[in-house]
């Protein structure tokens, strides 16, 4: 099976399915069926995308022999990202193909793009079925409990999320391979239990629309070999049109009827229009050297540097930010402000400032859609009070909390009572005067006391010695670090992390479930008990494993004691868990 480069849900001829890009082919399969469209990559000739912000996210592939090609529409919620991924991959392929055909035209003999010829199974496959972990997925899907961890997501997406996480966390991936895929000691669901937050956060970050980058398009001239050039990309042109609709109009009306595309842009960058749009302080100086341009000067607008904006906005503004209401609240009074405080005196900056505000608004609207006027007038969802409320002054909603389970609770409280009775004398109000007097008595003759202070030789020597030893020991440790051979060390790590995972599973099955993550259908007490027992089974083997490691020590020229020390904390933790389990399972019996 060729590993898939990327997959995505996409519809083809209005049928839902999965689009997949492998090393050799671009293929599409209708849901639940085999691939019905298979395009060898070397046949891909060109690539077309729907515009950003269009209703459908489409990708069209045209082939060498067949110009009509195939058109796919991406359907998943993050269609845009997926399309970009495909686009990036396919662009490479297309350029490679083009280079190859060109080369072929030049020298047909060498034109032999090495296609990776591999038999491809036509069987329906899950998008990620080629990966080892996902095999385990299909195994564990027999286990009826929740494969889908995030409500509303279909299993395929879920699998993809998990795969992404495992790939981006190598350690977790290794652990998963070890426990779930290889040994099958844990089921997939068990493995992910308690790790839902990883999936949730990944899903959340993937579903987040990133929005357009904020920078304002500002083609700046570059000087190359003494020649001033402005490099334009289609993206830039698109942004310029969006930013300055007037240029779009000019372009539409003049290209190609009166001006050629490149000529249009050359003229534009020399025109007053361009300098008016740059709207920087520098460009006002340049305004005088710019020549007239009979075509483009028609599109010059009045510069937006009046105190009131050129485009008056009449929509009502939310009351709590309505500055106009304040300025109209009473007639103007007083002397005029001093020169520094009169807004808009720096005329050159005003168009710039307006451009910033408009650009920001446009970006926001492209992401959020413009606010309808009706909604704007309403203050906010929670009525007038949301903005004036001080939330920490409200009574916090009380949480139930977990009852502390203690051995011999009764005795603890009794102890407390008896303690308090004995301590009540100490708690009697302290008379400060007496205290001071005592302190004074104690402090009397402190000088003589100090001179009489003698330090015994023996204990101080001992203290110094122990300190030296301590330092020496540390130095020693530092000096011979990392001398455990790699293979052994890795085995030790694996043993540790696997044990930790078992421990985690065990304790989560023992402790009450957390209230926050309710996405997983809560397991019944019986299931939990069974799981705890299973984990204890695994855990009890830890000692053997550790012993085996210790035994292996001499083979690798490592002091077994060191391995033992290294494994000690894990063993301790395991023993503790086992002890706890035993006490818990054996406890109900005597009570009965």
């Amino acid at each position: 099976m060729p590993p898939s480069v990327c997959t995505a849900k996409a519809s083809y001829k209005k049928l839902p399915g999965v689009l997949e890009l492998t090393d050799t082919h671009l293929q599409w399969a209708q849901d639940g069926k085999g691939p019905s469209v298979r395009v060898p990559l070397r046949d891909v000739a060109a690539l077309f995308c729907s515009k950003e912000g269009a209703a459908q996210v489409r990708l069209k592939v045209s082939l060498v022999e067949d110009d009509t090609g195939h058109s796919f529409a991406f359907t998943s919620p993050k269609a845009h990202n997926e399309r970009e991924k495909f686009k990036a991959e396919l662009t490479l392929i297309v350029s490679r193909n083009r280079a190859a055909t060109e080369a072929a035209a030049r020298a047909p003999a060498t034109a032999n793009p090495p296609p990776v010829m591999k038999p491809v199974t036509a069987a329906p496959q899950m998008p990620a079925a080629s990966q080892a972990p996902s095999r385990a997925v299909s195994v564990s899907s027999a286990d009826q409990r929740n494969l889908t961890i995030i409500p509303g997501n279909d299993p395929a997406t879920d699998v993809r999320l998990r795969k992404t996480i495992l790939m981006s966390h190598p350690e977790l991936g290794a652990l998963h391979r070890e426990l779930v895929a290889m040994s099958g000691q844990l089921t997939e669901a068990e493995f992910w239990e308690g790790r839902e937050y990883l999936l949730l956060s990944l899903a959340a970050s993937e579903n987040q629309d990133k929005g357009k980058p904020g920078q304002i398009v500002d083609p700046r001239p570059e000087t190359v070999d003494g020649e001033t050039k402005i490099v334009m990309t289609p993206q830039m042109i698109h942004e310029i049109f969006e930013e300055y609709p007037v240029i779009a109009t000019a372009h539409r009306e003049n290209v190609p009827s009166k001006l050629a595309e490149s000529e249009f842009w050359t003229r534009y960058f020399k025109s007053k229009l361009y300098h008016a749009h740059r709207a920087s302080i520098r460009s006002t100086a340049a305004q005088h050297v710019v020549q007239d341009d009979p075509i483009l000067d028609k599109y010059l607008e009045k510069i937006d540097d009046e105190l009131e904006p050129r485009r008056q906005r009449t929509e009502p503004v939310e009351v709590f930010v309505n500055l106009g209401a304040t300025s109209e609240d009473h007639g103007e009074t007083g002397n005029e402000k001093d020169v520094t405080m009169i807004a808009g005196r720096q005329r050159g900056a005003l168009p710039l400032i307006r451009k910033f505000n408009e650009h920001s608004e446009r970006l926001l609207n492209s992401a959020l859609g413009s606010t309808p006027a009706a909604k704007r007038q309403k203050l906010n969802a929670d009525g007038d009070y949301g903005q004036i409320d001080i939330d920490d002054l409200h009574e916090p909603e009380s949480s139930t909390g977990i009852v502390l389970e203690m051995l011999d609770r009764q005795r603890y409280y009794e102890g407390g009572i008896s303690n308090s009775t004995s301590g009540s004398e100490a708690l009697r109000p302290v008379d400060i005067k007496t205290l001071i007097r005592h302190a004074k008595v104690n402090l009397a003759d402190w000088e003589t006391n100090l001179t009489q202070l003698k330090i015994e030789r023996k204990p101080s020597d001992a203290a110094l010695l122990s300190m030296t030893q301590n330092v020496a020991a540390r130095l020693d440790v530092k000096a011979r670090k990392n001398d455990i051979p790699d293979t052994l060390f890795r085995q030790m790590t694996i043993c540790q992390s696997a044990t930790n995972e078992f421990l985690r599973q065990f304790w989560t099955s023992v402790y009450p479930p957390s209230a926050e993550l309710q996405v997983v259908a809560a397991a019944t007490p019986a299931q939990r008990e069974a799981k705890a027992a299973k984990m204890i089974g695994y855990l009890s083997k830890t000692q053997e494993k550790a012993d085996a490691l210790v035994y292996m020590g001499p083979q690798h020229n490592v002091d077994p004691v060191r391995i033992e020390t290294a494994m000690k904390p894990v063993i301790n933790a395991v023993n503790r868990a086992i002890a706890f389990h035993q006490s818990k399972t054996s406890k109900p019996a005597p009570r009965r």
Partner: protein
């Protein structure tokens, strides 16, 4: 939460209370009981408004003779917020009321907010006008007494406002059902019932328990006479967000005249003359009638309809004269000639090409020498003009606004001898060559405008998040407070981190000092602060500049240096513009960007439109950067005159006032980031001058107490490290136990009260013992002694 302070039961609309709020209420009650004035500074964002309203409403509802509350705020958003706060409070009180009787009493409680016609008009055509002045004028044309009379007598002959007419059919005093109405509510009510919201509020004002409007409605005599005249003496007056109250006072008595204004006034005078000629032929009895009335004195109650007054005397009611108008301006045509002469005189003065500064007395002397205009008729100018315009039944009064200004100027200049200065500036800037003369009539003494308020009302509360140093205000406004208090902020963890950045990462000192502010190194360093913070701070960042001029030039410079391109990578950029509506839309988008998670930077100006009244709490402002110290422009002649006056009259040094003024504005800007104690934010002061101890000492205590010695002199990179550390810590779960320390439950309040009582008792006892004791050991101590 219900508790009692002394014998006054308080209902507080939250389950918990901050200790600051409790202390604030106690002090406020003390001041109200003493019927005196007070100055209270409470940390921003600790629920000042709600504590204030909660106490005062409890006070009003508990005592048998309710005192009306006049609550003044600076901006319409703040007014609306206060109204919403009050509405919620009253709803909570209704909910808490135990018996049906008290419930009914709470339901009858009434609170309203007042703003201009422009903001409250729902007439389909008039409300479309952009300028408030035009809305006022057109509204008057449709609603004044004469028009109404004509329209009612002969329907269809003149255009009337239906919304206003509908109001006339209703029972006065019950135009609105009782309750608290926000401005939005009143507008909606007006639309639903076809009544005019503006006049609904105006006419309901005598019947409400709480009225909320802006400072100007009480301080500006031109407005105050119209709307605040009937308020009773025992009302409680609150100036919230009062840190700039001295400026409002000064503004309300200052006037600027320019040449275009004088030209326009001249045209209006000519028009008035024509009108008089016309009316003489048609209806000369009217003018005669007016003449007789003027002989009898200005005050005539018959015409005292709120709808009619289009302008009023810029003086205060106290100064209103009940005497006859001087003979030489009683006749309409004489008055017009008088005005003409005065305007001509002013025009001549404007031809001078050098700066002139003179006192009102010297101006009057010169005026008399040249034109023989006496002081006394000048004083009546405003009133006389009003009377004339009413007699002539003129329409579209906005066209006469320049003339009104001249008349107000005449009245003011002839009334006050002290505390004012006239400055004629022939050129806008020092290096301008084309004259554009402005005649500034500037008030230097803020106490003049507020004095009547202090005299008339028994309790005036001046409060804000930033009015340090506290003793400055009583000094400037000339009053004696009975309570004067500032509260530190109790926090279990530092919810905000003030940082002073004195130099960039390249160790170049940064400052907005005039000499270096345009130095590329400084500009770049300021820019890199913004870039770096936009990288690390989530959601919203607000940056304040000391002036519009500086902001506009630095934005352009940053753009050319490519600094803003770096910012664009991380956040959207919004900038305050000269147009208020445009800025509001930018602000709205800024908030959307913060809510959405995209994050944004807002560039604005200290003392500008945005810095007043807009909150940047929670995600709307995770960091505030103050670029430079927001000093006033010291070259301004008006400021110089004011400083001189402050020094001579109140012994306030120039540098002290400038420093105080800059720091209160800086504090005001950074204080907007917090609301509640779980909210958090960074406060970055980027200027080396902030490192100086005397500057920082002028910050409010609640900010200053959290500036550590290390954080007071940082370079950009050090500040970033500290900021990152702070954000990492503050983003931890705040579920630690705040209660008892920075958050009190009812028990804590009771405990505190018990403790206070015990302390008081002890103090009393100590006092008593002092009388008998020998000052050494008390009996109790001897008993306790354990030998």
């Amino acid at each position: 939460m219900k508790f009692a302070i002394d014998d006054l039961p308080i209902i507080f609309p939250y389950d918990r209370i901050y200790p600051e709020q409790y202390a604030y209420m106690c002090d406020l009650k003390r001041a109200l009981d003493a019927r005196g004035h007070c100055v209270l500074e409470m940390p921003s964002g600790t629920g000042k408004t709600v504590s204030l309203l909660s106490l005062i409403v409890s006070y009003q509802q508990f005592y048998p003779t309710p005192r009306k509350l006049i609550y003044c705020s600076r901006t319409v958003p703040e007014i609306e917020k206060a109204l919403a706060e009050l509405k919620r409070l009253v709803a909570y009180r209704i909910e808490c009321a135990e018996t049906e009787e008290t419930k009914e009493k709470e339901r009858r409680f009434m609170g309203l907010g007042l703003t201009s016609r422009k903001n409250l008009c729902i007439h389909p055509e008039v409300s479309k006008e952009k300028k408030g002045k035009v809305v006022d004028a057109r509204c008057r044309d449709l609603t004044n007494a004469a028009t109404c009379e004509a329209g009612r007598a002969n329907p269809g002959s003149v255009e009337l406002c239906d919304w206003h007419e509908n109001l006339g059919n209703m029972e006065p005093g019950s135009l609105l059902p009782p309750g608290v109405w926000t401005l939005a509510d009143v507008l909606q009510h007006g639309r639903d019932n076809g009544v005019c919201p503006y006049f609904t509020v105006r006419r309901m004002m005598p019947f409400v328990d709480v009225i909320i409007y802006s400072f100007h409605y009480l301080l500006d005599p031109k407005v105050a006479e119209q709307v605040s005249k009937e308020l009773s003496k025992d009302a409680i007056v609150v100036f919230d967000e009062a840190h700039n109250i001295d400026n409002v006072c000064i503004e309300s008595l200052s006037i600027d005249l320019t040449r275009p204004m004088l030209d326009s006034a001249g045209r209006s005078i000519t028009k008035l003359g024509e009108q008089i000629e016309e009316i003489k032929t048609k209806d000369s009895a009217k003018l005669q009638e007016e003449y007789v009335r003027l002989v009898n004195g200005l005050k005539d109650p018959s015409e005292d309809d709120a709808e009619d007054t289009f302008m009023s005397n810029p003086l205060l009611p106290v100064d209103l004269l009940n005497e006859a108008v001087p003979g030489n301006i009683r006749k309409a045509e004489h008055f017009v000639a008088f005005l003409k002469r005065f305007v001509e005189y002013l025009k001549t003065r404007m031809r001078v090409l050098h700066v002139v500064a003179e006192t009102p007395l010297s101006f009057l002397q010169h005026l008399k020498d040249i034109t023989y205009i006496e002081r006394r008729p000048l004083r009546f100018c405003a009133e006389r003009l009003q009377s004339l315009i009413r007699t002539l039944e003129l329409n579209r009064l906005d066209e006469y606004s320049a003339l009104q200004k001249v008349a107000s100027f005449a009245t003011l200049v002839s009334t006050y001898e002290k505390g004012f200065l006239l400055i004629l500036e022939p050129f806008e800037t020092d290096n301008a060559s084309v004259p554009n003369p402005v005649f500034h009539f500037t008030c230097l003494d803020p106490s003049l405008a507020i004095q009547p308020v202090f005299e008339r009302f028994s309790s005036v509360v001046i409060t804000s998040g930033t009015i340090s140093p506290l003793d400055m205000y009583p000094k400037m406004l000339q009053f004696t407070p009975v309570v004067q208090e500032t509260y530190p902020m109790t926090l279990t963890r530092n919810a905000f981190l003030p940082l002073v950045i004195t130099r960039g990462s390249d160790q170049v000192a940064i400052s907005s000092r005039f000499e270096v502010r345009n130095d590329p190194a400084v500009v770049r360093n300021f820019g890199s602060i913004l870039v770096e913070y936009s990288k690390i701070v989530p959601d919203g960042i607000v940056a304040f500049f000391p002036s519009y001029l500086y902001m506009e030039s630095i934005v352009a410079a940053w753009n050319d240096m490519g600094i803003l391109n770096e910012v664009w990578k991380h956040k959207l950029i919004f900038v305050e513009t000269p147009d208020a509506n445009e800025t509001s839309i930018a602000l709205e988008n800024y908030r959307r960007a913060c809510d959405n998670g995209r994050g944004a930077v807002l560039l604005s100006v200290a003392r500008g439109k945005v810095s007043e009244g807009i909150d940047f709490d929670h995600n709307y402002g995770r960091a505030v950067i103050m670029f430079g110290v927001p000093y006033q422009y010291t070259e301004s002649r008006i400021l110089k005159a004011r400083l001189e006056y402050l020094r001579d009259a109140y012994r306030i040094r120039e540098s002290e006032f400038l420093g105080f003024d800059a720091m209160r504005n800086a504090a005001q800007c950074v204080g907007r980031v917090l609301r509640g104690k779980t909210d958090w934010g960074l406060m970055v002061f980027a200027d080396k001058r902030f490192a100086r101890a005397d500057k920082r000492a002028k910050l409010p205590r609640w900010i200053n107490q959290y500036i550590t010695e290390t954080a007071s002199n940082l370079s950009t990179d050090m500040a970033l490290t500290l900021s990152k550390l702070f954000m990492r810590q503050i983003s931890q779960n705040p579920e630690e136990n705040l209660t008892g320390i920075s958050l009190w439950t009812l028990d804590d309040v009771l405990q505190a009260q018990a403790k206070q009582k015990a302390l008081a008792a002890e103090a009393k006892q100590a006092e008593e013992e002092d009388e008998y004791g020998n000052g050494d050991f008390t009996d109790q101590m001897l008993v306790d002694l354990d030998i």
